[in-house]
Every structure is written in C-alpha cells, then in structure tokens.
Symmetry: C2
DNA sequence: ACATAATGTAAGTATCTACTTACGGTAAGC
DNA sequence: GCTTACCGTAAGTAGATACTTACATTATGT
C-alpha cells in the first residue's frame, strides 16, 4: 500500500482535483484545461504530471496537442484501499461495541 | 464538495494515515499511539487534530486519557465522493468510446 | 494540598509545494 | 526552411507543513 500516498496527495490540492474532475467529464488538452483556470499553463502541466505519476490520468499525443484522460486504475486503487479500510473500521466498531456491552456498560444504579 | 479537501490532505501524509489506520483497528489513547511511532507525542496530537478537523476521528475523555476513534462519517464522505466520481468517469468513458467508434475509428485499409 | 501523569498549545525551524517567468523541443501550415 | 502553436522543463520564490522543545492545563493518587 505504498503507492497510495501519491493518490491522496494528488487529490488533496483543490486546483489539481478540479483538473481531475474536469477530465472526468471527458478527455481534454492542456491548453483548453488551462484556459478555464486562473493559473498559468505550465502550472497545469505540473499538476497533470503529478496526476499521471499517481496513476490517475493517461496522456496521448494527438497531433500537436497532448490529450489527457482519467485512468480508471488510479480510482480503482483508491476504491480498493477505501473498501478494505471500511470493513476494518466496521469490524473494530463491532468488537468495541461488544467489549463495551460486556465490561464497561453504563451503570444501571 | 468543499469539505473534501481536508479529507484528502489528512490522508496524504503517510504518518497521519498510519495513525488513522492504527485507529481503524480499535480506539486508542494519544500516548499509546505515540509510543509506537518514531515521532514525538505533540506531533501525534497535531496529527490527531488534523484528522479530527477533517471529520475522520472522534475523541472522548476517559479519565485522564483522551481516547481517539475512527468517525465513520468521514470515511462515508470520501466514499460518496469516490462513488459519484466513479460513475462520472465511466459515463465519460462510454461516451468517448461511442464517439471514437463513430468519428475516429481506426482505419480498416 | 501536592506530586505525577496525560494531553493540548505556542513558538521556532527545515523542508515541501504550488505558483511564476524564461527557455527548449516537437508538430502543423505557409 | 521558417514561422507559429502547443507543450514540458528549469530555476526561483512565497507560503504551507511536519516536525521539534518548552510551557500550560486537567485529572488521578497520596
């Protein structure tokens, strides 16, 4: 689970997450993405680089343009982590509830 | 969806995510958590403060100790975001696949 | 009341990060 | 070939952040 940190780091920044959400509505080139944002185009390139390193997006050359799109594998890894975590937390809750009920229940006067 | 950033930020740091994963195996006090980590106890307190601000953990006083535990609402918010995103991305993929098939399909000589 | 234990907070610091501008490289059009 | 368009990278900088030590606060035990 060492490759999960870049996923969270990539999605932690609001601007970068906005770029990712925009790509979720369909593939897009760097220039078009930058045109709809209040930051420079190189900044968008750097964000896309981070998203790509995290496995959240792919890129392919399309003529002179470079089109980025969401990579489902990245979201899949996040989903896997979250699911495993969800079950662990629920198990802990169940165990804790049983322990509370037996050993530390509220005093009935 | 403005409250999602602290969630990702909180889980982006490996140390803080480790604390959260430890809490997923059951509630724990600050001192015990710090004893199993290579950082100081105040650092653990600060991480727990961030996790609490993100809605990922709760804390309750238990005598002189302060016990922290996972708050399922935080994970639920993450799961909701991820699910909505998952469906959006899949829709975009389907639409893109149809568009590719009609307008830009590979040339069959 | 006093001492001890457990924790949160304040202040300081080194590192990381998100941006900027400047520059280099590749593809399309004349 | 030359220009133009699109993009990535390099270098620099202001702000965020993850730690540290020192101190304040609250609860338990004698």
């Amino acid at each position: 689970m060492a490759y999960i940190s870049p996923l969270f780091s990539a999605l932690a920044d609001p601007t970068r997450r906005g770029i990712f959400e925009c790509l979720a509505r369909g593939p897009q080139s760097v220039g078009v993405l930058a045109a709809g944002l209040p930051i420079s185009r190189p900044a968008v390139s750097q964000h896309l680089k981070a998203l790509k390193a995290a496995g959240l997006v792919n890129d392919r050359a399309e003529g002179a343009l470079r089109v980025y799109r969401v990579d489902p594998d990245g979201l899949g890894a996040l989903r896997t982590w979250l699911d495993r975590f969800w079950t662990d937390a629920l198990d802990a809750f169940r165990i804790e509830a049983e322990r509370e009920g037996k050993d530390h229940g509220p005093d009935q006067h």
